[in-house]
Amino acid sequence: MQDAENRLLLPSHGSIYKLLSRLTKYGVLESRWEDGEAPQREGRPPRRLYRLTGLGVEVGQSVRAGITVTLDLNGLGV
């Protein structure tokens, strides 16, 4: 979002939500809908907020350290 040159390459809606959904299923992310009065007060739609889970932090650290990370979805059949 910060690099103006990448503006045209901003992932499409389909790509973003597929990726977020997949990471959530893997347990790397968790999400919740913004509640409270802020959206109404600011006249905007509520945001869906994502944050890294404990596993997500661990995965992030491993990836940064160059360690291969394998995730699977036990019980989800993927």
């Binding site: 979002m1 103006a4 503006r7 045209l8 901003l10 992932p11 499409s12 809606h13 389909g14 790509s15 973003i16 939500y17 597929k18 893997y26 347990g27 809908w33 905007r44 739609p45 509520p46 945001r47 869906r48 596993l55 661990e58 995965v59 491993s62 360690i67 291969t68 990370v69 394998t70 995730l71 699977d72």
Partner: protein, 299 residues
């Protein structure tokens, strides 16, 4: 394809009314999403629409914050929408694919039987459109092939043969005693018919070519290789344009015939050599990496 063109046309119209542009693009995006989620569970519809509404709003706000003018921001959002349409369609068909996966190939048996019957004996014209509607389930065998399918279906010469082939594959795939691995060689055989038909001057070579394409496409199920995808897509587009340019109908234009011959040979070579080579390379790399690092983190 038509949808994308329609979106582009709407975009051009919107650009003519600069004042209405920003909100119109947001409305257009939400309208597209509404169409996309039709028929899905209410929970999925609500969530997707809410995500898109929020996304479009935040995207626009971010663009304006960076100093883009409203029309420019709207253009960028429109570009993003149009560019993402194929991905959106893939997302949509994934629901049908999931259903077919859940019920296994048994679900394709009645489907294949129905459409093969319609296409062959009862009402060929109706079968084409009904089969078009059933492309979602059929894409379980054509993952990533929906764009190619749409292109082929957009050409009146290829449509009939392509639909018949899809019906045949769905029928074979749904047949309980016939494993998929036996279907692939069955589909491969027609890919050689243009080569046989070329010197013999067989008029039905266009149909054979379509079937050969089907065979090739079936092979690449699940490869997810963008270069191969792009290559096949380009091939089909060339074929489509060549057919249109030469007006080939029952009699086949020489270029199209030659092209089918080339395409069959090239497709066969790509599959038997390059694809297997790539797969081996990827597997070897993966195995080597797993063996050397030994540091996999299993979640």
């Amino acid at each position: 394809m038509q949808t994308v063109l329609m979106a582009l046309a709407i975009g051009v119209l919107l650009i003519g009314t600069r004042a209405a542009l920003p909100t119109s693009v947001q409305t257009l995006t939400v309208a597209w999403t509404r169409a996309l989620v039709l028929g899905l569970p209410a929970r999925v519809q609500r969530r997707r629409l809410a995500e898109i509404r929020s996304d479009v709003y935040e995207h626009r706000a971010a663009l304006l914050l960076e100093g883009h003018g409203a029309p420019e921001a709207a253009s960028l959002q429109l570009f993003r929408l149009v560019r993402g349409m194929p991905e959106d369609l893939v997302w949509r068909t994934s629901f049908e694919i999931a259903i077919v996966r859940r019920f296994g190939k048994w679900a394709l048996l009645p489907l294949g039987t129905l459409f093969a019957a319609l296409a062959t004996w009862v009402r060929p014209e109706a079968a084409e459109w009904l089969f078009l509607l059933s492309l979602g389930p059929v894409t379980v065998f054509l993952q990533g092939g929906i764009f190619r399918s749409l292109i082929l279906l957009g050409n009146s010469i290829f449509r009939r043969h392509y639909v018949l082939t899809l019906a045949a594959v769905a029928l074979l795939a749904g047949f309980p005693i016939l494993p998929v691995k036996y279907i692939l060689p069955t589909v491969e055989i027609p890919s050689l018919t243009p080569i046989i038909g070329l010197p013999a001057g067989v008029d039905t070579i266009v149909a054979a070519g379509s079937v050969s394409m089907m065979g090739t496409l079936t092979y690449f199920v699940g490869t997810r290789n963008r270069k191969v995808e792009a290559w096949i897509l380009l091939s089909i587009l060339t074929m489509w344009l060549a057919t249109g340019a030469f007006g080939a109908k029952d009699s086949v234009a020489p270029l199209v015939t030659i092209y089918f011959g080339y395409l069959s040979i090239a497709s066969w070579l790509v599959y038997h050599y390059l694809y297997r080579h790539w797969i081996t390379q990827v597997k070897t790399h993966h195995d080597r990496q797993a063996a050397t690092t030994g540091a996999s983190t299993r979640a």
